[in-house]
Each structure stands twice: as structure tokens, then as C-alpha cells.
Amino acid sequence: MNETLKRTPLYELHLKLGARMVPFGGWEMPVQYSSVIEEHGAVRQAAGLFDVSHMGEFEVRGPQALDLIQLVSTNDASKLAVGRVQYALMCYENGTVVDDILVYRLDDHRYWLVVNAGNTAKDWEWINTARERAGLHNLEIIDRSQEIALLALQGPLAEEILQPLAPGVVLSQMAPFSLSKNVTVTGVPTLVISRTGYTGEDGFEIYVKAEEAAALWEALLDAGEEKGLLPCGLGARDTLRFEARLPLYGHEISEQHNPLEAGLGFAVKLKKDVEFIGREALVKVKEQGLTRKLVGLEMIDRGIPRQGYPVAVGGEVVGEVTTGSFSPTLGKNIALAYVPVAHSAVGAEVEVIIRGKPLKARVVETPFYRSPHKR
């Protein structure tokens, strides 16, 4: 394995659990412990614990913190209350995507931006450049990615497993996209717990100092074992987020795609009172109408669509698969793909070209899976 890959504070514990480690976004991460399908099922039916410490955390604080966030974020952070979390995108001037992020409002003038591991350096540069150009001096940006570890406890039993370990907080009163600071979990002081996740299930993301991460990981696994909690790798994380239609940078969103065609318009506030980067381009996209759209496909013929496979109509290539897989929950072969708007209606038939063969697929509703448990 490449020596330049970074390791999370839980690296040794992953090896002890028999994880298969793979390179991902510059990190050496567990892709699976036992089986992707088994881990996927644990999260849908009980709970799973993920090490997602590779994610980057930037702290933005000071009187002009909000001004900077408003400049780089497509969403409206002025509507974000203290103690809440907001999904947003950062866009280039041309409206395509720098990254998708979570914005945490920790205090009046203190925010966290949680960014994708593989984009951490690019995002840092982007945000700092935006700050300089705008002349926003009355704030500080701190890259806390190295000092912060992140565990995601996901699944319908997440609250039941976590609550007894965290007597200082009433989890049932934590709404989705809310956060609690400085909660002690089984004696470990955490920085932030938020009711967020990337699996399509209820769950929590727990930010903790790197040196406390191992103790927290082991305590959670111990506490959840009898309830069916499994350690889960990036393999299951990907199939879980995919079934829930949550985008992954480099697949559904990238510098080739704008958030409107990706179906992320809910996080793009063109009318907010700050001219955010990319706004002008996105207004034009909206005025002119979309040319292509991200849709869900279900295979009719036998075959598994994969990222990059062409999508065709009547033998002519019109689009491309962004993510495709066997869906462990549905037992079907499904994909997310960009297709021209004319072929994007539910029920439309297209072909996915798999190893040179056009195989029939149908446009279906997304998300492919909606949790019956999710709050």
C-alpha cells in the first residue's frame, strides 16, 4: 500500500477487526469488515458504525464568518440557527461543483464546514482565495481536519444504542440536522454530535478529538453488539448512500455537473441576498432550462450498470451512468445516470451499454429506497 496515504486514528482497530483496507481520497480506509451486503443490511435493520475520520473540518469564526460562508455556499446560511446543520454546495463561477459540504452553526459567529476527504486541499484553497478576493479580514479559518476524528452511528437502532451512553443529552429531542456540543459519551468528551448521516437511515455523526476516537469506537461497538451493530466500511457506505440517492463527489456531482441538473436545487438559494460564487451561471441555467437530468434507472435486462457506462436511446449514446450497483436492499441492479430531459420521465426506456451490449433499463423514481424508520 502506498506510503503517502493517510491513516485515521482507528487504523490499528480496523486491522484488528479484519477489515480490508483500500485507498480512498488520499486515505487508507476500511472498505469492508465481513461483507458489504451484511454490513449494508445491518444499517437498514439495526445499526452500523463507520469511521469517516477522513472527512475534512474547517472552522470559520469571527464577525464576518457568515459573510464568507454566504459567499461560497449555494444555500442560505443566514437562515441557519445556532445548533443546526445545513447541506450546501460550493460552486465554481460557471456553476459546476467544487464540493458538497455540511455547514454546522456552533455559536453565533462560529461555524464548521465539513468537506469531502479527497477535496480538502482544493476546498481550503478555494475558500481562502474567495476570502482574500472579497477582503473579508474579520474572521479566522482553521483547518481542524487532523485533530478531529468522525464516527457515524447509523441505523434505526442508533438512538437506542447511543442514548444510554450519553446521559447528558436527550437524543429523542434532537431533530434531524440538529447538533449538540460537548456531550460526554461513555466517559469520552465529544466535540459535536449531529443527527446527520449518509446512509438514508436515522443516525448520528460524532466528532471527537483524534486521541479519543479509539475509546469511543470500542465503547460503541461493545454497547451495540447485542443489538446487531456491525462495524461498516466504505463499501456499504456507498451502496447505502446510493440507494438513498445521496450524491457522491466525483460521481453525481463534479466540475462537470451543476447542482440543478443533479437534482440538488433544494440547496441552491438563488434569491438569497448575497451574490454567491456561481450564482449568475446557475440563474442562467435555470432560465434556459436543463438539458440533462440525473435520474434513477432499473435494469430490465440482466447486467449491472457501473460508473462511466454509456446510456443510449435507439442505439445513440445520450448519457452516462454516475453510480451503478446491485442494490442489496431491493435485490435489483440500479443506477444513477445523466440523461437528456426528453428521456428523463419515470417509465422511459433507455439502454445501458454494458461491455458493448445495449441492455434495457427503465427510468424509475428516486430515491430507490426510503427508510420506514427515518425521522
Binding site: S35, V36, I37, D238, T239, G303, I304, F326, P328
Partner: protein, 128 residues
């Protein structure tokens, strides 16, 4: 060692072949299925197709990976394991038994000399 049965021959692409008379039964090894993880799809050739040793004849896919299959010997495909269409997980559960992939009429038994025996294959998988 159970994971590398002594009576089989192996390719460096991790297929095995068991020759019974003129018939060769072909599958993928325990090591291969372990590396792949949960197998969710197998694409097999048409019965009657003539394969050359080393020729790609299909794919096996896990949740995350697509992996090509190569014929360990030349010959005509006389049967494919249609059970794998609805139960590809047989490859994980029993790679040397219920998880077999196809049967061929072995055209040239001397070709088997090009393959690895169990000891050589086991050593090969440990080279990493």
C-alpha cells in the same frame, strides 16, 4: 489445505479446473471469491462456444468490482451453471462445488501442463 484442493489445476487469473475424463469443470478459487467479496452477478458464455486457453469467457461481479473470467483450457462449452443466475452467492459459499461456472470438453489435455498445481497456486497467492 481446503482452500486450495490438491486435485485441481489453477490459472494465474484464479480459475480452477477439475478434469474428469474428457470433461473439465471450471470455477474461480476460494482466494478469488474472498478477494471479490459478495458475488452478485455472473455472465457466462453460450453453450457450444469454442474457447481457447486464456480466452475471456465472461465476468463475475461483486458489489464493488467487475472481474473478467478466463478459460483455463481450450474446448467447447457443454454446460453452464444456470443456478448462478439466481444464486450467484454460491460462488462465495462453495467455490469448488455448487459454485462451479462451466463445463468444457477439454480439447488438448497437454495444455493443463501450463497451469499451476495446488502448491504452486498457493505460493502464487501469497506473493501478493
Amino acid at each position: 489445505m481446503a482452500n486450495v484442493p490438491a486435485d485441481l489445476r489453477y490459472s494465474k487469473e484464479h480459475e480452477w479446473i477439475r478434469v474428469e475424463g474428457s470433461i473439465g469443470v471450471v470455477g474461480i478459487t476460494w482466494f478469488a471469491q474472498d478477494q471479490l467479496g459478495d458475488v452478485v452477478f455472473v455472465e457466462m458464455p453460450e453453450v457450444g462456444r469454442e474457447l481457447k486457453q486464456g480466452e475471456q469467457f465472461g465476468v463475475v461481479e461483486s458489489v464493488k468490482t467487475v472481474s473478467d473470467l478466463y478459460s483455463p483450457a481450450s474446448g467447447k462449452v457443454i454446460e453452464v451453471n444456470t443456478k448462478l443466475e439466481s444464486a450467484p452467492e454460491l460462488i462465495n459459499q462453495d467455490p469448488y462445488g455448487e459454485g462451479w461456472i462451466l463445463k468444457i470438453e477439454v480439447a488438448d489435455p497437454s495444455e493443463l501442463e501450463n497451469l499451476l498445481d495446488a502448491a504452486a497456486y498457493e505460493a502464487f497467492t501469497k506473493e501478493g
